[in-house]
Amino acid sequence: MLLLLEALSARQQQWRHGYDLMKETGLLSGTLYPLLMRMTDQGLVEAEWHAPSQPGRPARHAYRLTAAGMALAHAVAEDEGGGTFRTALA
């Protein structure tokens, strides 16, 4: 979850796709999606549908942190030494 929080908090306002998050965090889909579901259920992540970039492709679900998610990300970073997420997680 910390890896996902870090990835999502790195670009706070940007909507991120699931496969991009997998590549960035190194998490497999079997780990990423349960985390996204839990975090969305808990109001830490919001999701919305984005129109496909190419015709004939399915719409894609995109995610970003909510205010509560951002607050949690900051709290975790501070608890782990007040630095950035990368130093906190190291």
Partner: protein, 215 residues
């Protein structure tokens, strides 16, 4: 071939997620295309299936499906195997001494010599009845997993009638009916569980009202 397997696994994952997580199933489907483009559809699809199976116990629809499979594979299938096996192997339990009808027809006691002809005549009917019971179990399990509860009731009633006929038939032939009675009791228990599952299914997926159908 690999792509086809991956698509099959994805379809299974989406089905496992059920209606309450349908949006997440579609989200996975959308990302599956991106994974396929990068040549990793299979690992992505299996990951989604793993996630979907892990999600199943957390929602009622998933618990319902899991219960159905446990019931079908844990009770219905073993009962069907036992009954079909007994019919094909010559009723090892239906006659004292565990020798089945073969033992009943063996030369020996007075009873055997008197009843041999009757037992020989009864063998086809008993075999057919026991096969019907086994096949009935298989059909009930299959139709239950398809969610066709009206057919479950119809096949269950017919299977119960076959079980009752078998017990009556055996009693008339003075055969040891204790195992058949036990199997009929298990069948009655199964039908009771099936009626509870049907009620659970009706709560989860209420049928549309006549007004809704008219619209």
């Amino acid at each position: 071939m690999r792509a086809a397997v991956a698509r099959g696994v994805m379809a299974l994952a989406i089905a496992c997620l059920g209606r309450c997580r349908q949006q997440w199933g579609l989200a996975m489907q959308g990302e599956f295309e991106a994974a396929a483009e990068e040549g990793k559809p299979l690992i992505f699809a299996f990951g989604c299936l793993f996630a979907a199976v892990r999600e199943m116990p957390t929602h009622e629809e998933g618990r319902f499906v899991l219960t159905n499979y446990v019931f079908a594979l844990g009770l219905m299938m073993p009962m069907a195997t036992l009954q079909i096996g007994c019919a094909l192997l010559g009723f090892p339990y239906l006659y004292p001494g565990q020798d089945g009808l073969r033992g009943a027809m063996a030369a020996g006691g007075v009873q055997e010599s008197l009843l041999r002809g009757v037992y020989q005549a009864a063998v086809p009917s008993l075999s057919v009845l026991l096969l019907l019971l086994g096949i009935g179990h298989l059909r009930i399990a299959w139709v239950m997993l398809e969610g066709d509860w009206s057919r479950v009731t119809a096949i269950g009633t017919r299977t119960m009638a076959a079980a009752a006929t078998l017990v009556i038939f055996m009693a008339a032939l003075f055969l040891d009916g204790s195992q058949a009675v036990l199997q009929t009791a298990v069948l009655a228990l199964e039908l009771a569980i099936l009626s509870l599952l049907a009620r659970w299914h009706a709560q989860l997926f209420p049928s549309p009202s006549s007004e809704e159908l008219a619209r």
